[in-house]
């Protein structure tokens, strides 16, 4: 089944266009003699299988409306930054941008999840020239943005690996060690940011 229906072709285009707009934001920062905004971007369209699983789990009907309107992460872009400051700088720029509005945000950096997960999640509503499910010919689409540092990103990859391997020995210990590791990486992130600020104060 194709849950995205006739809207499917637009999703990749919107993803690429938003990534292009993020690139422009980054270029503007560099032009203004600021540090680059991010290290790299990753974009993905949620596969139709995972989207159907998610809709079923949430009790939504299997329709384009559920996939694109009830769920807001069909289009996902991850912004991976060098430093914590850069994450917050990028968030501010997105809030000021005229091509999108922030409809939801979750700060898992100042309040990490119990397992140690750190990241900043935003849902953007982006105006597009494409037909949308509300019937308009130029409608808005939702895009989920995840912002995190390189350290948080590496940790999330490791945690992801652990989550999808079900028969790990000592899993309780591994969970505990992952949490400890997350706290140590957070410590390094804060340390690097502090050193960067001390260098700037001395300039």
């Amino acid at each position: 089944m194709e849950i995205y229906g006739s809207f499917k072709p637009y999703l990749s285009k919107i993803k690429d266009e938003v990534m292009g707009k993020l690139d422009i934001l980054n270029q503007k920062e560099i032009k203004n003699n600021k540090n680059k905004l991010y290290e790299h971007l990753i974009g993905r369209i949620k596969t139709e299988d995972s989207m159907m699983d998610k809709c079923q789990r949430k009790g939504f009907s299997l329709s384009p409306k559920s996939a694109l309107y009830e769920c807001k992460d069909a289009i996902g872009i991850r912004i991976v930054c060098n430093f914590i400051d850069d994450v917050y700088r990028a968030i501010e720029l997105l809030k000021q941008a005229d091509w999108c509005t922030v409809v939801k945000e979750k700060d898992y950096i100042t309040r990490s999840k119990p397992n140690g997960y750190r990241s900043y999640h935003l849902i953007l509503k982006v105006a597009t020239p494409y037909p949308a499910i509300d019937g308009s010919m130029a409608g808005s689409y939702f895009v989920e943005i995840q912002l995190r540092t390189i350290a948080m990103d590496s940790w999330a990859s490791l945690e992801h690996e652990m989550k999808y391997k079900h028969n790990i020995e000592n899993s309780a210990q591994i969970v505990k060690e992952l949490k400890r590791c997350a706290d140590q990486l957070a410590s390094c992130d804060v340390q690097m940011q502090t050193i960067r600020q001390l260098i700037r104060e001395n300039r």
Partner: protein, 228 residues
């Protein structure tokens, strides 16, 4: 080790000071409870020894005031042998140990050695201040979030919590945290203060370290309820 001694009998005070000095302990003697409260609020001590019966303010009253200010320094009370109530009120007021008078200096010195072993070997475990928790054994700072600390950061924050709300000069902090390392100066201390400040912020704590580069520094509760 720096010790605050409050004993109103001058003769006895002199004997205790001499004995402690001979073991290389640094002693500040005062002669009533009020002076003890004042000295405790101004300086950092590793141990306080208070007589109970003293003029102006008793040792128990002084101890209550010191504990109420947030000071968690180890306190030994000197109590009269017959007065069980003195021991009870002293311990209930926040004392950690007591010695009955008349006592032998040998016993006092042995208790101090025992305390030294505890602080050196076992660390101070878990400490709380405002909305933060410091686990010294795990080297972890917790509030609405948690983060790891380095060994030096742990020691520094430990000292700050034990002496919360006091303005502490740089030399005392460097002395306690880096001990015999002569290479440590104001600049290094400033970097560690900066790390701790950022980490307190990273865990969303309503606790901060006040002070300009060069010190003195002061750990304070910055929540609306905690501000006095």
């Amino acid at each position: 080790m720096r010790i605050l001694l409050a004993e109103d009998e001058k003769q006895l005070s002199r004997v205790i000071v001499a004995a402690l000095n001979s073991r290389n302990y640094d002693v500040v003697p005062v002669y009533n409870g009020q002076e003890a409260v004042k000295k405790a609020s101004q300086g950092v001590y590793d141990l306080m020894i208070f007589d109970i019966m003293m003029p102006v303010m008793t040792g128990v009253e002084a101890l209550k005031k010191i504990r109420a200010s947030g000071d968690q320094t180890y306190v030994i009370m000197l109590t009269a042998m017959a007065e069980v109530d003195d021991k009870v009120t002293g311990l209930d007021a926040g004392a950690d140990d007591y010695i009955t008078k008349p006592f032998s200096l040998k016993e006092l010195l042995a208790r101090i050695r025992s305390l030294e072993r505890r602080t050196e070997n076992y660390g101070n475990g878990v400490l709380n201040f405002g909305d933060i928790t410091l686990d010294s054994n795990e080297q972890r700072l917790e509030s609405f979030n948690s983060i790891s600390l380095s060994a030096k950061e742990t020691k520094l924050l430990n000292l700050f919590i034990l002496n919360a709300n006091k303005k502490i000069i740089s030399e005392i902090l460097i002395d306690h945290v880096w001990e015999n390392d002569d290479d440590i100066d104001q600049d290094t201390l400033w970097i560690y203060i900066s790390y701790l400040r950022q980490k307190l912020q990273a865990v969303n704590a309503h606790v901060g370290i006040e002070g300009e580069k060069g010190g003195p520094y002061q750990l304070v509760n910055t929540s609306k309820e905690g501000r006095t």
